[in-house]
């Protein structure tokens, strides 16, 4: 049914339609509306047979989800930013134990400096924890991906993170098609765990594994991800059959045919990118885009096929690997190792800085003219950083960087 609804509430409804039996809740902006929404649906009886557990920290949230999942319950939680870091050890444990937990990340920057706004630093920090990571381009896709995530997780016995841009998606109201319970029930079978803690049939989960077997266990973790490369598109097809719309899959291509420049990005910025591409295509520029939905597993072959006909690739990414550049760009380069085309990194939208059509268009034009540097920070205030570099060089006890940049931005430069 079509509804005008906030992204967070829509995800809460989608999660409830998947009939989780345990939901662990701990608030952190910008994810809070989601678990609050699920809580409201438990309280009013819409979601029955569900234990909604208010826990004392993010570490507890995922630890309780791990215990619940090992006991055979379909388990869900959500977090963001420092919350994801705080549960870091449990994130690895959930994957290492092969427990099919679904977790929403309301993507947000990581401090210091503390920042509540959107970028992808949080989920990127856990990209190699063994979870499947799916990035939603729209709120419709966010809610659809949650329904797919439970099926994917349980079929592979592997946890899945559904990443959606904090505020930009979580707090946006837009038109959404909310599925019926019957449709979701038809798509998502009851949870049939591959391992279960059962007092009548006891065994242990979480053994100490030494050098003689650890590599084999890790090999199988990688193999699980490779199986997901096959399963994600299959589940997307089944989803389309039941719900009638394309959602999920490994990548989405947009006007890549005949494109000399292809833009690659994750998440909601793809909408803005498409609008820029339409304008530039109208001006005769050969440009298209690829949105990566599945970042883990990383679709090396599919990306190579989508990108290798282009002359250059521009990766717009909302995270920074200090000392390297771009995480996504590095991964994209791996898929293009034999193709010999330039891959440019554009770090954009850090800490919630708006990514505008005007700035993107400037970057894409520069790319089209082969004027783009290897790595660029979109809309960087060059004067501010140069001023700070010189100031810090002059004084040993130069004080905190963030406070000095803030002072400059407030108009007190050099004081």
């Amino acid at each position: 049914m079509l509804k005008q609804m906030e992204g967070s509430e829509a995800v809460a409804r989608a999660v409830a339609l998947c009939r989780p039996e345990v939901v662990c809740a701990y608030p952190i902006t910008p994810q809070t509306h989601i678990v609050e929404g699920v809580g409201a649906l438990v309280k009013d009886g819409t979601l029955d047979n569900c234990e909604f557990i208010n826990v004392e920290s993010e570490f507890a949230a995922l630890s309780v989800a791990i215990g619940a999942s090992a006991a055979g319950a379909r388990s869900y939680t959500a977090t963001a930013s420092q919350g994801l870091l705080f549960m870091g050890e449990a994130v690895y444990n959930a994957a290492g134990l092969g427990l099919p937990i679904v977790m929403t990340i309301g993507n947000r920057a990581i401090g210091a400096p503390i920042n509540i706004w959107n970028d992808h630093s949080d989920s990127m920090s856990m990209r190699d924890a063994g979870w499947i990571q799916l990035y939603a381009e729209t709120n419709q896709e966010a809610l659809d991906l949650h329904i797919q995530a439970f099926r994917l997780a349980e079929e592979l016995s592997c946890p899945v993170m559904v990443c959606m841009d904090g505020f930009i998606l979580t707090h946006a109201y837009e038109r959404l098609d909310i599925p019926d319970q019957d449709e979701v029930d038809a798509f998502l079978p009851a949870f049939d765990p591959v391992q279960i803690l059962d007092p009548d049939n006891p065994y242990s989960i979480g053994a100490m594994v030494g050098p003689d077997a650890f590599t084999e266990v890790r090999y199988l973790a990688n193999d699980t991800q490779l199986q997901a490369l096959r399963l994600i598109p299959e589940i997307g097809d089944v989803f389309k059959g039941v719900f009638g719309r394309d959602s999920g899959g490994l990548i989405h291509e947009y006007k890549t045919e005949g494109a000399e420049t292809i833009v690659v990005a994750l998440g909601s910025v793809n909408g803005t990118i498409k609008d820029v591409i339409d304008g530039m295509r109208g001006d005769g520029v050969g440009i298209g885009s690829v949105s990566i939905c599945s970042f883990r597993p990383f679709p090396l072959d599919e990306l190579r096929d989508a990108l290798s006909g282009a002359k250059r690739v521009v990766v717009i990414e909302k995270s920074l690997a200090p000392g390297l550049g771009g995480v996504v760009a590095s991964n994209v380069r791996t898929s293009l190792r034999d193709a010999g085309l330039a891959v440019y990194t554009v770090i954009a939208g850090l800490g919630g800085r708006a990514i505008t059509m005007a700035s993107l268009q400037e970057v894409f034009k520069a790319a089209d003219d082969d004027r783009l540097p290897d790595i660029q920070f979109l809309d960087l205030d060059h004067a501010a950083v140069e001023h700070e570099i010189i100031r810090a060089r002059r004084t040993r006890r130069s004080g905190p960087t963030a406070e000095h940049i803030l002072r400059q931005k407030a108009g007190g430069a050099g004081k």
Binding site: Q4, Y173, R175, N270, G271, T272
Partner: protein, 172 residues
């Protein structure tokens, strides 16, 4: 944010695509807040904040001379101000004189809310006023959106405030 949300719901009721989102300012009560709403007949993919609005609803006149609220507003745009004071009193008469007739209007939305709802909640009345000056939405859709968000007596009181604002703005 409630106003932008209700505006998007009213547009949805009329079959339009609508996207409402806040400008996520400081997390404290009383901080200046901006929220946005886009309306279109096709899917809205753009995620940048609105930089050149077609219409501006100003909820608090104390902002008029502390931030440049009119920045980017199109020269044939619409302005609705929550105030019972004249444009001269607000010291914006010269500025608004450049806009087409009937595009700029002030409505005492907070006073209308106090009259009907007994609380200083101007959102509903402002949307009634906006429907009148912009012609983008029907008053009945605004009323339906308000009732969906606030069912029962509170919603009805807000709808009454919105309808009165609609008539005041249309007569202005």
């Amino acid at each position: 944010m409630t106003a932008a949300e209700l505006l998007s719901v009213a547009a949805f009721i009329e079959g339009k695509h609508a996207q409402a989102f806040p400008n996520f300012g400081s997390e404290r009560m009383g901080a200046p807040v901006v929220s946005f709403c886009r309306l279109d007949d096709k899917e809205i993919r753009l995620r940048e904040p609105i930089q050149e609005p077609d219409a501006l609803i100003i909820q608090d006149t104390t902002l008029l001379h502390s931030v440049n609220v009119f920045q980017g507003l199109k020269t044939d745009g619409y302005i609705l101000i929550n105030s019972t004071r004249t444009f001269d009193d607000l010291d914006i008469a010269d500025f608004v004189a450049g806009f087409p007739p009937h595009h700029v209007c002030d409505v005492g939305a907070t006073e209308l809310a106090m009259k009907h709802v007994k609380r200083p909640v101007p959102n509903a009345a402002l949307l009634g006023g906006f429907a009148a000056i912009s012609g983008q939405l029907h008053m009945d859709s605004v009323a339906e959106a308000i009732m969906e968000k606030f069912p029962g007596v509170i919603g009805e009181a807000n709808v009454a405030a919105a309808r009165e604002a609609f008539h005041i703005a249309r007569a202005a």
